[in-house]
Symmetry: C2
């Protein structure tokens, strides 16, 4: 079989693979993309978008309750199944998959269906149904194979034990569920199912959660999760788990015990690198099969940090933050560096946001208050609350707030530099972008004062949080 | 009665009055505020916020339909009255009014209840229940008395004929209604009532509407309004109108005729200046009682453009754009100029956005495509559609799009300057702010390429609209 030569061979068609391939192809590179799954789009199309679609139902219920729209008769249909909720999801998923397909063909990217593995550092074979269907050589290889849920041995294999890949296949809505792990995925599903009326118990080994969030945001989220009925079993280690037809029981080292209809594991993810035959390319992985990369997303040896020539990796396969948003950005940046596409895109977005689709949403970018303290920065905080904002009052969001962190300076004539933006509340992940743009532009406190925001909008919170920070500075100076 | 002296006397407690008063007080000025109405907050608290609250019900209905959430049983309660819908509205309105009250007292602003009128250019009397309750002298006077719906003589006075101030007092939901005037208010209510199930006929003298919007946005809004069932009677002049117990009939000059249960006038507004005794201060108004102002919002003579010493005006009383957002900004800026508060706020937001709460929402800032053509600017347009965006697909918005206008330049190395941002679709008025911040920062096309947007969000549309514009430039150069 003849080997086909490409400028770039991409493995995986999720957000990182798609955008990396499109970026290189846009600049005239010949690109091949290999996908082992039946469908394009990876985890974004397979689970992210569907779970966010299911979340719309939950949001509708929680949002409308908050809005107190008494003229509207709103209820869950008595015997609603998960599949009822997911009817719209299927069309959205199909739409997303065909969008990826269209994008690849629009960029003249050659697609190969099958499992890619290294022959050597430049050559890959593609295997489908046990047969080698192609041999590909790439000057550059981008690995974007994603990750899979990790199942700690302590949990048995049982059909009442799910993970984030299988939970959307539920054929009935459980009355109760245990979720193990209060990371992004665990928290998102805990909020979603709780809002849909399921009694959720969330087990987490630490007493805090998602330490990359600003502490106040994380604490407020905990409070909100309790309010919507999630039982937080924090600081608890699972010692054993039993599953049978009637349900699942989890025993904790503290001797506490919790029982529910089903259990969902959200105990971390393992990178999909086991089938790549990495040895042949001289690539060594880090823990949980993770590919280690340098600042250009070129693969490196986990200990020596020596680069693997021509091989890049992006997305979930390289570990945290493992968000579709950052995965796309990593892949685009990797390709800019690999093919020297400068100055088209000089910097990977220097500040990567996090968006967490809990109920309420959380989002943040730049420095947290905890990071400022660690680095010994002198800062002031300004906060503005949804329930003091006209739009926030209309939507009835009681807990939401925007928190801005500025670098302190003692001249009221001089704008204070924006260091961090943190939001919890409805559309937090959208609302963040106004602050993110300001962070990236290196804006100061005058920026939000100079903007005339639409009324009534949550966007106005930026102005009032800035006023609050300026007032705080004034108090310190007086 | 002793005259009380203040640095600033503000007349009116709507968005302009409140923010102007607070701005001056924050900088140590002694401020009095006079309000003739029983409640603080002006039109923002009285009609804007309540109508947006009612709109939440409509949005819930239309949004959930678009999201195809079949697991949720959603319907209007059979005999729902407008008052049912507005139950939440009352608490929101009260909240907003007490927020204004709190803000005024927090800033140590003296409140006077009554009708203010000029004694001379520096002195005002305050009359309540026919008695003079105070005499106030201000070094600066800020007039922020707002406006009232205008009733053309052709329409009789009848309880089936409403305007935007009275429509929320409806005691039953009509089956059909006629709205006269397709400006912001007419279009907002047409969408709102149509979505709530009322058969709406919208009469407008021109064939286009809201010419300040980008043409494509305005046309798309027209299309969406037809889709939700609004009958558009455009290019029609009303020749006569009859109202009785059974309903209202309107006859057009074209001989067309339309009949409905009720009619709402949205035929422009008249400034509330008739009771101010402006003569005593030597102030002459423009058409419809409007106060004319210069670039600093100082009142001027409509013909000679000569300034009236010490008297400023902001908000609806000075006419278009007559939005709460711009009114606040005008008043703040006026006070900065009046009291020379520079450099606290050097510029009034140089670019004022418009946010229209139709269904779908529209929002825009900077130059429209029509303005670019008029000024002979060479530009490229980049658009990104909600239905090609993951979040847009989830919410099922079929028509929405973001349109960015950049100044053309022929060097692919050089970012193109952003000239205009226009959005139609769900949360358009929030989504605009990311582009508005970029406009104000003088950002180029690289700005949105460098930002890593959360996924899935509508915010991503900025990146893809920018890509589209860059592709358009590349095509022109090839």
């Amino acid at each position: 079989m003849e080997t086909k030569h490409y400028d770039l061979v991409v493995v995986g068609s999720g957000p990182a693979g798609e955008k990396g391939a499109a970026q290189a192809a846009y600049f005239g590179k010949r690109v091949a993309l290999v996908e082992a799954q039946e469908f394009l789009g990876g985890a974004a199309a397979g689970t992210t978008v569907p779970s966010k679609t299911l979340r719309e139902t939950a949001l509708a219920l929680s949002g409308l309750r908050a809005r107190q729209l008494y003229g509207v008769d709103l209820s869950l249909k008595g015997q609603a199944t998960v599949q009822d909720f997911l009817r719209h999801e299927r069309s959205v998923k199909e739409h997303e998959r065909s969008r990826v397909e269209h994008n690849l063909s629009r960029h003249d990217i050659d697609r190969y269906d099958g499992l890619a593995s290294f022959i050597d550092g430049r050559n890959l074979r593609v295997v489908s149904s046990g047969e080698v269907v192609a041999r590909l050589a790439g000057d550059i290889i981008l690995l974007a194979t994603g990750s899979s849920p990790r199942h700690p041995d302590i949990f048995p294999e049982h059909h009442n034990i799910y993970d984030s890949d299988t939970i959307l296949n539920l054929d009935r809505m459980p009355e109760s569920m245990i979720i193990v792990g209060a990371g992004v995925i665990g928290c998102e599903y805990a909020c979603l199912f709780s809002t849909l009326g399921v009694k959720v118990s969330l087990i987490h080994p630490s007493v805090t959660m998602m330490p990359f969030l600003d502490g106040e945001i994380s604490q407020t989220l905990q409070k909100c999760m309790k309010q919507i009925g999630v039982e937080l079993l924090f600081g608890e280690q699972v010692s054993s788990c039993q599953a049978d037809e009637s349900g699942v029981s989890v025993f904790m080292e503290s001797d506490a015990r919790v029982q529910a209809d089903i259990l969902m594991l959200a105990t971390g993810r393992t990178s999909n690198t086991g089938l790549l035959n990495l040895d042949a390319a001289g690539i060594v992985t880090g823990s949980y099969g993770r590919l280690e990369v340098d600042e250009n997303y070129q693969v490196v040896h986990p200990e020596t940090r020596k680069c693997v020539a021509g091989v890049y990796a992006a997305g979930d396969v390289i570990g945290a933050p493992a968000l579709a948003s950052t995965s796309m950005e990593q892949a685009r940046y990797a390709m800019v560096k690999a093919f020297d596409l400068y100055p088209y895109k000089e910097n990977v977005a220097p500040i990567l946001p996090v968006g967490i689709y809990t109920i309420p949403e959380c989002s943040g970018a730049g420095m947290t208050e905890e990071q400022c303290k660690e680095e010994g920065l002198d800062y002031v905080v300004g906060k503005a609350y949804y329930n003091e904002n006209a739009r926030g009052m209309i939507i009835g969001d009681q807990e939401g707030f925007l928190k801005l962190i500025f670098e302190f300076n003692d001249s009221v004539q001089t704008p204070m530099k924006l260091l961090g933006v943190h939001v919890i509340g409805e559309i937090a992940s959208e609302l963040l972008h106004t602050g993110l743009g300001a962070l990236i532009a290196g804006a100061g406190s005058n920026h939000f004062i100079d903007i005339c925001f639409n009324y009534p909008t949550l966007g106005e919170l930026y102005k009032y949080a800035t006023y609050a920070a300026m007032g705080e500075r004034a108090r310190r100076l007086s």
